[in-house]
Homo-oligomer: 331 residues x 3
């Protein structure tokens, strides 16, 4: 059931230091996931459908990928609920000159099948066979957890990024950035909605600009928080992708990114929040070593609160990682 | 000495109504100009150079181009001064199914040859031969006029677009927009500077979003004012392209667009204004007929002043066009 | 009747050594061919049509093209049968700094006009005028030859590439590769079918990855065998492009590439083989000199058989080339 997708990394996939953008990798991951889950959902008799991305679990970027290397992306369906599909995607970078291979990412994505005739209708997913009963039980647990998290994050979404006039260096206002993008045909699936991967690529682009504005060095994506896709974005919309720094540790920066959609032509609807997530970036020296990051200066009460929340996420992730390493060492 | 360049227009070159973006056409015009002028400037013994875009004269979009049509772009050198080259570019749209051809644009571009070894050194241009003495005299007159205009516009550049919180519909703040773009390798010439055509495409994209936000209908580029390229933009920069509406007539909108460059990585330099220009857009019905445009609501003194200046440009262009039509009728 | 198409080669058109991908060139060749043949087939009164690529004759890549050079692609119709058009395309690389021009490719393509209203209906082609009677006779001979060859290759198509676990270096399994691509709107013609040039570009990309995995050096396309387009590929399909090495000589590698289409949404149809072809690659040193190639290790009976078949093609091409050189020397 596994699928593989390979592509050579080109200059436009990377920053000027030659490191492939995290967004390029996220886009390939999502394409592999969309193909395998759409194929699975159409494998039985019944209404034709397209799998739409609903959520990406937290993902670490384990090692950098460079121009000229081949990205090998493989995808596998690991769980199905009545209306959703869980896909596990692995990315390996391969230096085809030396033959060296490295694991770059392990990602988990959730898709929902939407009818080709009626995009508001969610279809049923054909069940998969599990080799062992525990696989189904573990999948069910992951399914319940993500369902809860999606509900929670939906409530956080009233926030708006306000502009700042003449900001000081290292403040939140100094590095905050936003871009607008007119959704074109190549950004969209057969249903006329933006591919989740296209959205994630733009989010990573904005996060990277925020990080670079803050520390003025070569920066790379270290991890992405769980991303929930609350609402579909239609062809012809203008999307505004905004990023602001929320937290800095000694060697990392956390950036919050929002995606707002404006269905501006021939649509009565107001602007809405479609996606939001946290990206973590690190700063690298010319030799690829992590550099210290200038501390973020917080000014308003909201900025101070967000900094503390970011610190909480940072410490939690750190603790989790240490526990995993201890566990691994004991085995 | 004329050159031709042809390309089929694809869905990604156009808006959802199927009209090819003005920016796509400007990019093709500039590529044709860059090829012919770089070739000319290297046609004699001496230092190798790349022609850099310095200015585009005012250009009208005479008829729309659609997906599936072939754009035929032809370029010719019409004047050379000691350090600059004037190129005349014509664009024809061709429906290869019916054979129908239409003139879409007539554009005039000025290029300056920069040394491949030292990008700050402007080289000498080999003179061209004129069929008639008047051609040289007319060219010289155009050369002096554009030189004066470039000097003048360089002084207008202190202006900055300020953000507005919760703006009312049809105000300047309501539709103003900006995008950021990280300059990648494929955006650049051999010298590592952004192609003028890439910059113009982004400028048209922002202007189009401003126009669509104002009138919420299908919009197309009607004309572009003279564009002066004050400063080069280097690979690795982040550019901010900002647009705001300055004037509306009954059936057209004028949008001012700035390009600011941030040389943010490993560069001591401050943000600088690289390019600015005015774009005029019209709103079209589903049948392709011009629609009335909601009047722009001006609030501040600056907005009122810019509205009056825009009105001045509008009336001047209108008078010029009427004079040309009368002249044509008398011939 | 000749047409020209010019474009500057950018970083994304090339590999890390700066050599433009064969696939980029094949894509430009096909676009020039599609424009001239679609225009010709619509030059008479009657049903509107789009020319679909049916076959590309064997093509040699005579000299490399580099970033910053201009590709000049010119096309001419050289023969018409009742239902097909033969187009001859030449590609010249031009260094616009030195003025040096080199012939890169001479390609021959066959197109078939499909009705815009009914894509399964092949229309009649308006006849062209020949300057000399022999031109028509020679064209007819080429037409009959390709017709025969297309019939033959259609039968070869049952083959499938199986994955190999832990392969040894220099075996077939070690370098075999595949990529999957979801066909988007910009990949397609007005009829909603993939442009032949898009398919060829993906085929060259896979062949290049196979060649680089085998010899771990800078590699370039040396030639492409005749490519037959057996079946159209529709928008929304997923295509799987697979490549495996079939033969190595001292200084060249032959790679077989398949394109399989999966009409996975809304189509009851099974996966089908759309295109297949052989690509020949050479390995280059940093100075651009051909390097020896590690010999391919064949393991199974099928691999040994394919190696012998590849050897046959290699010796035949070599003999043909020597005969041409002798002929040229005698003239």
């Amino acid at each position: 059931m596994a699928r593989q997708l390979s592509r050579i990394m080109r200059p436009d996939d990377a920053n000027i230091a030659g490191n492939v953008h995290g967004g390029t990798i996220l886009k390939m991951i999502e394409e592999a996931g969309a193909i395998i889950s759409t194929r699975h959902c159409n494998s039985q008799e019944g209404e034709a459908c397209v799998a739409a991305l609903a959520r990406v679990e937290r993902t670490d970027f384990l090692s950098p990928m460079c121009i000229g290397e081949v990205a090998n992306v493989s995808a596998e369906i690991t769980y199905t609920s009545r209306h959703s599909v869980e896909v596990q995607v692995n990315v390996m970078s391969e230096n085809i000159l030396t033959g060296a291979k490295k694991l770059t990412n392990k990602a988990t994505l959730w898709y929902v099948p939407l009818s080709l005739k009626n995009v508001n209708k969610v279809l049923e997913v054909p069940p998969i066979q599990y080799a062992r009963k525990e696989q189904e039980d573990e999948g069910k647990k992951r399914y319940e957890e993500q369902k809860l998290d999606r509900l929670e994050t939906k409530q956080r979404n009233g926030d708006v990024m306000l502009p700042v006039i003449n900001p000081e260096p290292h403040t939140v206002g100094y590095s905050q950035s936003s871009l607008i993008h007119l959704v074109g045909p190549s950004d969209c699936t057969l249903l006329g909605f933006v591919h989740g991967g296209v959205t994630m690529k733009l989010m990573d682009e904005v996060a990277g600009i925020v990080a670079a504005r803050h520390c003025k060095t070569n920066i790379v994506t270290a991890s992405v928080d769980a991303i929930n896709f609350h609402e579909k974005i239609k062809k012809g919309c203008v999307i505004t992708v905004s990023g602001r720094m929320t937290f800095t540790s000694n060697k990392s920066m956390e950036i919050e990114v929002f995606v707002d959609a404006d269905p501006f032509v021939d649509e009565p609807r107001e602007r809405y929040r479609a996606v939001s997530a946290f990206f973590t970036y690190v700063s690298l020296s010319k030799e690829g070593k992590p550099l210290p990051v200038p501390q973020l200066l917080t000014e308003t009460e909201d900025e101070k609160r967000r900094f503390e929340e970011g610190k909480g996420r940072y410490l939690q992730t750190k603790a989790k990682r240490q526990a995993q390493m201890q566990q691994a060492a004991q085995q």
